[in-house]
């Protein structure tokens, strides 16, 4: 048992910090507060320095298949509130293809992603609480799939050449790559202004070779995608909540009332301590989930536990931070407000706490 980071992981952490501190200064972040939140410059900087290949096998141009490394990237993107939404691309598409495809045409997308191109996913559907059972349908005739349905919260779909879509068919669940030009894409405005899209598929025809997994493994691949998405989103939440907690410590140690810094009031310091406890729990359940995913252990429950902690911590720490900052916390000239919006997205996307608790409870009681 070892909780320490490998030396290369501390290096990743430090060098990512360096880049992101420079790129995510308030002045830069402000540029994206009201418009399409996607920092091309930062993306190509990350690509040039090899960070988009974290968690990707060396043979595809990555730095090695270790999901803990990829977790560090998302933790840091969250910590610095980077104007980039890369889970669809780096996690859903690159990781799932790496794990399930042996087709050169699909695998070449991984290389393309590492170079800084966007190929995203479209998994979630409005009002469908069970992403493992997509309502989007594919009719299969011969070698041809005809896909119809509506997806939403697809990151950066407008920038994406290919979109990985989950569908149901008479062969069961399939993960299919679709040319984005064949779909109708419209921009959504989410609470944190993330670049999010609705993707309509109206009888989109694709070839069978667009299915990224071998026959019969569709559900397995989709479940893997959902799990790894949960874990990486939990890492994003970890970064967001780490930053909010450090803001609490810094602000309350400076702000004076009644001639003393408010951090010296026990009520204040204890609320901060509770944030620290939640943070420590989240860090550990994330670490367990990432490491077990690495080892191909059955870890749906670990992923659910991570996401449950992430949702709860995101909510609790966000409101503790706002409360302990007083009015400054809501002031858009200060930085906390961006984190509060990000926290809410981390909390709800790909399953809320309550939804995942239900899922976990189902797993626990059906494995008896």
């Amino acid at each position: 048992m070892d909780f320490s980071e490998l030396s290369h992981q501390s290096e990743i952490r430090d060098s990512l910090d360096k880049i992101l501190i420079e790129q995510c200064i308030t002045e830069n972040l402000k540029k994206f507060d009201d418009k399409f939140k996607h920092d091309e410059e930062l993306l190509s900087l990350l690509a040039t320095n090899g960070y988009l290949g974290l968690g990707i096998k060396e043979k595809y141009g990555g730095t090695g298949e270790n999901l803990y490394d990829l977790g560090i990237l998302f933790e840091k993107l969250g910590y610095h509130a980077a104007p980039l939404s890369l889970i669809g691309c780096l996690v859903d598409v690159a990781q799932t293809i790496q794990k399930f495809s042996d087709d050169e045409r699909h695998l070449s997308l991984i290389t393309s992603i590492i170079e800084g191109n966007i190929h995203t996913s479209a998994i979630l559907e409005p009002l469908n609480q069970d992403p493992e059972n997509p309502r989007t349908k594919a009719e299969i005739t011969g070698n041809q799939l005809t896909i119809t349905g509506t997806k939403y919260l697809s990151e950066l779909a407008s920038k994406s050449k290919n979109i990985l879509v989950s569908v149901n068919s008479h062969e069961g669940v399939l993960l299919v790559l679709v040319d984005s030009n064949k779909t109708d894409i419209s921009e959504l405005r989410t609470t944190a202004n993330s670049p999010s899209f609705k993707v309509d598929l109206n009888s989109v025809c694709v070839d069978r070779s667009s299915i990224i997994h071998t026959e019969g493994r569709g559900l397995e691949a989709l479940r893997y995608l959902i799990q790894i998405n949960m874990v990486m989103r939990s890492y994003l939440a970890l970064g967001v909540t780490e930053k909010m907690t450090s803001l609490i410590a810094a602000y309350t140690s400076e702000r004076k009332q009644f001639d003393r810094v408010i951090a010296s009031f026990q009520a204040v310091s204890h609320r901060a301590a509770d944030c620290f406890i939640d943070l420590e729990c989240l860090r550990l359940v994330n670490q367990q989930a990432a490491i077990n995913l690495n080892s191909n252990l059955d870890c749906e429950n670990d992923a659910l536990v991570a996401k449950i902690w992430a949702s709860n911590a995101a909510h609790k720490i966000s409101y503790s931070a706002q409360h302990l900052h007083g009015g400054i916390g809501a002031d858009k000239d200060y930085l906390l407000w961006r984190y509060c919006l990000l926290a809410k997205e981390c909390e709800l996307i790909n399953g809320s706490s309550s939804q995942n608790i239900e899922r976990l409870g189902l797993n626990i009681t059906s494995n008896q």
Binding site: A263, S264, C281, V285, T365
Partner: protein, 404 residues
């Protein structure tokens, strides 16, 4: 950036290694053998919840003879010098069986005496602790000294033949069947509180020793103990005069960690899960078919996962000789408060059945649920109250200023 495909991800695995897993199953097997029906029956008797009965004494001596006492002690002191992780596994396994193992005697007091005691204490006391023949009670708290322990007033005055001890202690658990009290006394009245404290070994068969029982909500007996002109020889002093505070604090992290070990709550969760799964609520439905039951189970499960990881990480920190004040306090606060929540959620699952006492008809799971909730609050203030732990977290973990 360095390439790292060659690094084995297995090294990062967060689970017991083969040697640790083997120790765990060895211990499991050993304790299954130790917990005879007679011992179990004795431990179900409220007078013997915490040990002290004849079967308990037998079991302790058997464990001593089989070499299962003194696992944390250094080899040169006659112990096995297990690593912190192996000790954690030991505590976990023992607690899962429900055997009231006297950890404070064997793992805190014992090694401190073996290391810092007089020649007499090393030979007479430490050896017998290793043999399972002696039990200690801890005499720290006093009526007016709890969280502010260093303000304690019980005094030991140097006389020609030793030290004369006078005072009163509170919450001296196990004193009713202990051979000695590990007693914190004031020996210097001129210096700052924590600098004038010394530790003595005080025999409970001295005529100046007396006690009165305090019966608690959880049916755990504890005691008020009185020390009236007890004269102990110099050799009963442990460590140096006036340097007792460091003995009190030296093993705090380890002791706190033992308090919030994840074993017992996981055991209780497993028991409730199994029972709920077999409990029919109508013709074709079991308790576990209800969505709110699933919900409660999942809440407890995700809480246990975090507790297990916090405890393992804290153990790993000790194993690698790092010092991290904040994390030990995180374990204590989170664990003690989670237990309360977990007991509640698990009791909800079994509903009113959880209210039935052990001797009652229809009672379930040896009425463990009925008993555990009554003992739960002790841990939020005992072992270092959670307010102080949160102060420590804010200072050591978040570098915030000291509160006042």
């Amino acid at each position: 950036m360095r390439k790292q495909d060659e690094i084995l991800v297995a090294e990062m695995l967060i689970q017991l290694n083969a040697k640790q897993a083997k120790l765990k199953s060895e211990l499991q097997e050993y304790f299954e053998g130790l917990m005879t029906p007679a011992l179990k029956a004795e431990l179900n008797n409220p007078n013997h919840f915490e040990g002290g009965g004849p079967e308990f004494k037998n079991a302790m001596q058997t464990m001593g003879a089989d070499g299962w006492i003194g696992l944390s002690w250094k080899k040169e002191l006659g112990g096995k010098e297990l690593s912190p992780m192996e000790q954690y596994i030991f505590v976990e396994t023992v607690m899962r069986t429900g055997f009231p193992f006297p950890f404070l005697t064997t793992e805190s007091v014992g090694p401190m005496i073996a290391e810092n005691g007089s020649d007499w204490a090393k030979e007479e006391i430490a050896t017998k602790i290793l043999q399972g023949k002696l039990i200690f009670a801890i005499g720290y708290s006093e009526p007016n000294s709890g969280t502010d322990l260093a303000s304690l007033k019980t005094k030991a005055i140097k006389e020609k033949d030793g030290y004369l001890i006078n005072g009163q202690k509170m919450w001296t658990s196990l004193a009713n069947f202990s051979d000695y009290i590990w007693l914190a006394t004031r020996t210097d009245f001129e210096v700052k509180n924590h600098k004038g404290i010394s530790i003595f070994i005080v025999p409970t068969d001295d005529q100046g020793f007396s006690m009165s029982a305090i019966n608690t909500l959880g049916d755990v007996r504890t005691n008020a103990t009185f020390y009236d002109n007890i004269l102990v020889p110099d050799s009963y002093l442990v460590g140096k005069l006036n340097e007792g505070w460091s003995l009190i604090t030296s093993q705090l992290n380890l002791e706190r960690l033992a308090l919030v070990n994840h074993g017992p709550v996981e055991e209780l969760y497993n028991n409730v899960l199994n029972l709920a799964h077999q409990t029919k609520i109508n013709k074709d439905q079991y308790l576990t078919d209800l969505s709110w039951v699933k919900h409660n189970l999942a809440q407890v499960y995700s809480g246990i996962e975090a507790l297990k990881l916090i405890c393992w990480k804290q153990t790993w920190i000790m194993e690698s000789d790092q010092l991290n004040m904040a994390e030990a306090s995180v374990a204590k606060v989170y664990g003690s408060e989670f237990f309360i929540e977990a007991y509640r959620l698990l009791m909800e699952i079994m509903g009113e059945l959880s209210l039935l006492k052990n001797e009652s008809e229809l009672s379930i799971l040896n009425a463990k649920l009925e008993r555990m909730y009554r003992t739960a609050s002790i841990l939020t203030f005992g072992g270092g109250t959670n307010e102080v732990q949160r102060d420590i977290i804010a200072m050591a973990g978040l570098l915030m200023p000291r509160t006042r």
